[in-house]
């Protein structure tokens, strides 16, 4: 299968320069002044409401509306161009700094304008992404774990054999698709990925120099951060509007580069937390122990099994805070598996783990794939990448600069340039990297 060109979405063409300017200063000052101005104007307009509570309430209401309208509608919409249209493509328009949805005024306007926008958008998108992702939404029970199909290394590589080793190439059976995902912090473009597909049932390594945007991409894909532009789909379903805490229920779980062990809980409790759909997690049902005790026991057994597999069983009842750095990495990975995910995203899972244990972890990761899970992991150790990954994606300065089987990566000129700077002409011996 050959790669086709990624569909063009023109709505993406945001006036970047103007935006940066607005984003840093003007925007903020304008909000401040708009706030005051609105208030003062209002005082003139409804001057005789003074001294009454009604006056105050109306004043406040008017203030909120004016500010929201001014800020959200005029300034940001102007700055972000066709954002109303993007929204209906499943691209949520969010505050670039906070990742929160924009306020009241915009929401109202958006809802009013969206019928127009949909028509415009259909023309714009044609048969591209819209049909593939939005048009074929699979309504599925979010709580049901997707069935895993067991596989092995040979099958995984075979599936990828026909895929062209170019950035943004199409995979035969993608579990995760990112389209036009970008994220800017102030003026810095941390991530700007045109198109990326992750093949189901294989181990994909995500590599790149420090600051390439790997962690940011993880955040975007798992909804921990909201993209400035772009859309993403999991199992053929858009997950743009899915908040981070629901992602796990879809069968996608991630770990963090800076380990997040829950220090003042025991290792076992850490593990048990990972199980989804627990009956005792509701406040009322929690009060009736019989409702959840059986399930809790099951979960505990599963947790013990995993702990044993990760060599943590002797620490079972200790506080997680007492674990060593490497052990915490293990715990976090084991905890993620408690979710029973179909896609595991590991952010530098092996950093700080001793070589012997690393080897056994590698086997675990391979084992996960063989059970049918899809694994994406970030790693700087090229030996390890060569050893276990079936596919490698290379990022630099926010972009995907290369993709391909592990063997093809080390002599890719773009990758060499990214790691060592341009004008370096020898092939990169990435294997010595660690």
């Amino acid at each position: 299968m050959t790669a086709e060109a990624a569909p063009e979405i023109t709505a993406r063409s945001v006036p970047a320069l103007g935006k940066r300017f607005f984003a840093r200063w003007l925007d903020e000052l304008l909000l401040g002044s708009a706030l005051l101005l609105a208030w003062l104007l209002f005082l003139y307009a409804v001057g005789d409401g003074r001294g009454t509570i009604d006056g105050a309430l109306w004043g406040l209401a008017a203030l909120v509306v004016v500010v929201a309208a001014l800020y959200n509608q005029v300034w940001l919409t102007a700055a972000e161009g066709a954002s109303v249209g993007k929204r209906t493509a499943g691209i949520k328009v969010l505050d670039r700094e906070t990742g929160l949805p924009l306020g009241l005024g915009r929401t109202v306007a958006r809802e009013l304008l969206s019928p127009l926008a949909v028509t415009a958008l259909k023309d714009e998108l044609g048969q591209g992404l819209h049909d593939k992702v939005v048009g074929s939404v699979v309504v599925r029970d979010a709580w049901r774990q997707p069935e895993l199909v067991a596989g092995d290394a040979a099958a995984a590589r075979a599936a990828l054999a026909d895929v062209s080793p170019t950035p943004g190439s199409r995979k035969p059976d993608p579990i995760l698709i990112a389209e036009n995902i970008s994220r800017t912090f102030g003026g810095l473009v941390a991530v700007d990925v045109d198109h990326l597909e992750i093949q189901r049932g294989v181990i994909t390594a995500l590599i790149g120099p420090n600051g390439a945007g790997k962690t940011t991409l993880f955040n975007l894909l798992t909804s921990f951060d909201q993209p400035t532009t772009g859309t993403k789909a999991f199992n053929g379903e858009t997950i743009d509007d899915v908040p981070a805490h629901k992602i796990a229920n879809y069968g996608m779980v991630r770990t963090f580069q800076l380990t997040k062990s829950l220090s003042k809980m025991s290792v076992l409790e850490n593990m048990k937390l990972g199980a989804t759909d627990q009956k005792g997690e509701g406040m009322l049902s929690a009060l009736f122990t019989p409702l959840w005790s059986a399930q809790d026991k099951e979960i505990e057994e599963r947790a013990d099994e995993l702990l044993a597999r990760f060599n943590l069983d002797h620490m079972r009842d200790e506080f997680a805070g007492t674990l060593s750095g490497g052990q915490r990495k293990l715990l976090e990975m084991a905890r993620a598996l408690m979710v029973r995910p179909s896609l595991v995203m590991l952010d530098e899972p092996m950093a700080g783990v001793n070589p012997a244990l690393k080897q056994s972890l590698l086997d675990h990761v391979k084992g996960l794939r063989d059970q049918g899970m899809t694994v994406v992991f970030v790693e700087h150790d090229m030996d390890m990448v060569q050893d276990i990954s079936d596919w490698v994606v290379v990022m630099a300065e926010g972009r995907v600069i290369a993709e391909g089987p592990p063997t093809s990566i080390s002599d890719n000129q773009a990758v060499v340039d990214a790691y060592l700077g341009a004008h370096h002409d020898s092939a990169l011996d990435l294997g010595d990297d660690s």
Partner: protein, 330 residues
């Protein structure tokens, strides 16, 4: 020196009404801070929600006592938690701290404003809403009970308070040992980790804010019943700080922490208060150093000192485990 009087006072502090009000407030805070990691510095306004919820319904709207209790225990604190939580629970913990302390102050300003006299009775507040409660008392208002520590009505309040304490502590214990409590603790430790494992941190925090607020409201309501008045100055910000001291004294994140803390706090306060008063009266402390009215101020001062010393030197509480606290260094 009247040592007997001082002793009586101290005992009353250890088990009496003040202890009960603040133990409940501190249990609420324990849910907020000790288990969910929420920085609520407006527990006073939750207490006020309980007190005014009852008094407004009964005095202003002529509802029955029990309907008022329902409003003050459930509806008022729940609405308040929504108002406080919706804008802040998605943000960093400091924001909740600022918004809660501001709201508590805001409430006090509104409650004592003559403009809302019709609703809240302004600075005099409300009284006479607890008649129904005292009608139920089996004790003779004129008699003294429990080694002469409490008069009849007081004793009734104390007994009801203790019963409420037992129920609340059991409830909290049951909740915390359940998977619900596990999620809450996980959110306290690291919200992002909890979210990555599929827990809706915002929702749980809101639940915790409500539950802790309702327990605080129970404390505030009992206080209003016990003093037979709901007044703005009973819910100043320092009241929140008292509850915090009780919590930190006993140890946050422990079921019995706030209860022990509140008992110790009021035992100590009443003891120093009584002692100082005696010393002033007997002339051991001269009028130029301190007079009667200033004794009350010294109590606050000591609370400040205690809070500083505790939080700086023993952040785990008097009985807490230092090792466990050290796990906090992230």
């Amino acid at each position: 020196m009247d040592w007997g009087g001082i002793l009586d006072n101290t005992l009353r502090g250890l088990i009496g009404e003040q202890f009960i009000y603040f133990a409940l407030a501190a249990i609420g805070l324990n849910i907020h801070f000790g288990y969910a990691g929420l920085l609520n510095f407006g527990q006073a306004v939750f207490m006020a929600a309980g007190a005014y919820g009852l008094s407004i319904m009964v005095v202003t709207y002529d509802w029955s006592f029990w309907a008022g209790v329902g409003m003050g225990l459930i509806v008022f604190p729940a609405v308040l938690a929504l108002i406080l939580g919706v804008p802040t629970l998605r943000l960093r913990a400091d924001y909740l701290a600022i918004v809660t302390i501001a709201t508590a102050e805001m409430f006090r300003l509104i409650a004592r404003s003559p403009r809302y006299d019709w609703l809240t009775g302004s600075s005099d507040g409300h009284g006479g809403f607890a008649t129904r409660f005292y009608e139920l008392s089996p004790f003779d208002p004129g008699e003294r009970y429990f080694f002469g520590l409490f008069i009849g009505n007081q004793f009734f309040v104390v007994l009801v308070g203790w019963a409420a304490l037992v129920v609340v502590v059991t409830l909290v214990w049951a909740l915390i040992r359940s998977p619900w409590g596990r999620v809450l603790k996980a959110i306290r430790e690291d919200e992002d980790a909890a979210r990555s494992l599929g827990k809706n941190a915002y929702f749980y925090k809101m639940q915790a804010l409500m539950l802790g607020g309702m327990i605080g409201a129970l404390g505030g309501m009992l206080r209003a019943i016990g003093t037979q008045s709901a007044q703005p100055q009973n819910f100043i910000t320092d009241v929140t700080f008292f509850a915090w001291v009780a919590l930190i004294l006993g140890g946050a994140g422990k079921i019995m922490g706030p209860v022990v803390g509140a008992a110790l706090l009021y035992g100590l306060i009443n003891f120093t208060d009584g002692l100082l008063r005696q010393l002033v009266e007997e002339g051991f402390i001269s009028e130029s150093v301190m007079d009667g009215t200033q004794v009350g101020q010294v109590r606050f001062l000591l609370i400040g000192v205690g809070l500083v010393a505790l939080a700086a030197l023993r952040p785990q509480g008097l009985f807490g485990n230092k090792e466990e606290m050290a796990l906090d260094d992230r």
